[in-house]
């Protein structure tokens, strides 16, 4: 099974892809080997989703696929057909920051910001499941993601602050 042998017509074929991204229907055609993160960044131009390690380790590429956080460097775009995707660009609504964004700002949950979109999306999924997470719960939830600036303390504070903001907002 050499690499060259795989350059057949069928392997280069385009697959139709219909996804809802941040509430908007998007139609595309992608080659099977296109990773979801490349599709989001390069085809859709949504560069808030980052590529960090590109080896399933860091979680910078995390988005919500049907509400579930996924590492999009480890999923083919074609597999997202028919799903609803939320990227960091979909958090703000009508010029109003999402509570998780407000909380990351309030609690200094970021410095360089590279991991932040993924951290926030995982936190949104956590808070949907567990509206009052302990710091232990938060640490578990983000344990597949790497931040090299904050030492995580302020991220944990931010997620718990977002939980409060979301309760106040109800």
């Amino acid at each position: 099974m050499t690499e060259l042998a795989t350059h057949t017509e069928a392997a280069a074929a385009l697959h139709p892809l219909e996804v809802t991204v941040n509430g908007q229907k998007r139609d595309a055609a992608v080659e099977a080997r296109v990773l979801l993160v490349h599709f989001i960044r390069e085809d859709l131009g949504l560069t808030g989703t980052h590529i960090g390690c590109d080896t399933t380790s860091c979680g910078a590429c995390t988005v919500l696929v049907d509400g579930v956080p996924m590492k999009t460097c480890t999923m083919f775009a074609v597999q997202a057909n028919g799903t609803e995707i939320t990227t960091v660009e979909g958090l703000e609504q009508g010029g109003q920051l999402h509570p998780i964004q407000q909380a990351f700002s309030d609690e200094h949950g970021l410095q360089c910001g590279f991991c932040t979109p993924g951290m926030m999306l995982t936190s949104v999924a956590l808070l949907a499941e567990n509206p009052s997470p302990t710091s232990e719960d938060v640490r578990w939830a983000i344990s597949g993601q790497i931040c090299r600036c904050t030492g995580y303390q302020n991220i944990v504070k931010a997620v718990q602050r977002a939980a409060e903001l979301m309760k106040e907002g109800q």
Binding site: M1, T2, E3, A5, T6, H7, T8, A10, A11, A12, A13, H15, E31, A32, R33, V34, L35, H38, D54, T55, T56, S57, G59, T62, V68, P69, M70, K71, C73, T74, M75, F76, V78, Q79, T122, W140, A141, I142, S143, G144, Q145
Partner: protein, 291 residues
Amino acid sequence: MYPARFEYIAPSTLEEVIATLADRGDEAKVMAGGQSLIPLMKLRFAAPSVVVDLNGVPGLDTLEEEDGVLRIGALVRHKTCEKSPLLRGRYRALGDAAPQISDPLVRNRGTVCGSLAHADPQGDWGAVMLAARASVVARGPDGERTIPIDELLQGPFTTALSHDEVITETRVPDPGLRSSGTYLKLERKVGDYATAAVAVQVTLSNGNVGEVGIALTGVGPINIRATAAENSLRGAEPTEEAIKDAAGLSAEAAEPLTDIRGTAEYKRNVIRVFTERGLRTALAAAAAGEE
């Protein structure tokens, strides 16, 4: 990193999956969660010309207990196992292992059966399933066959599956009342492979140890069954001395290598300590009559 080009086939029935494998199996890879396969393809350690995606096949996400067998379908994610109330008590070894697999995001997507088919010597489920005496159901053009885990796992990344077969489910036999188990894993950080890990499964019978399973992760070219340790405990009184003897035999069964995660001596010692702790935990839980 882009993988080499491949032909993507996403069947909607198992029959189509098998027909595709029968036709193209020697150049195809089956994908469930893809959390091992996609990284390998990106690094070009794997360059299958065909990828058969199981995710569109309905009915493969069953996690249920039926007629004394726990059935884990080919698309059951680690996360589902982590949350399932079924994987407690008698099946606690599985429930304890699930949250220790990789990281939460990988667990959202990766599958138990996929992990077994991948046969990574560092794989956690291999040891758990050895201890639990599980088997997998493989479907091919000539029908179904059941493969015990001991036979399935043949070597590093090598299984007894033929190129036209797909694992449809993993079956864990009900170990009966007064049974329990656990999985203890040492890892440097979340998402890393095990430095060493031990899966334990015990059943008490009239106060003595009845059936027992002990298996190891990360200390050999494959998950290892600690046969001598199991034999020393089977039928024995579950004394502290018996536990210590079994733990010593378990450490002897390990074939660790010195690497970045630790020296061989260190890993062997971890196996001894974890076998001891695991047996104590499992025996206490089994004695408490947890179901």
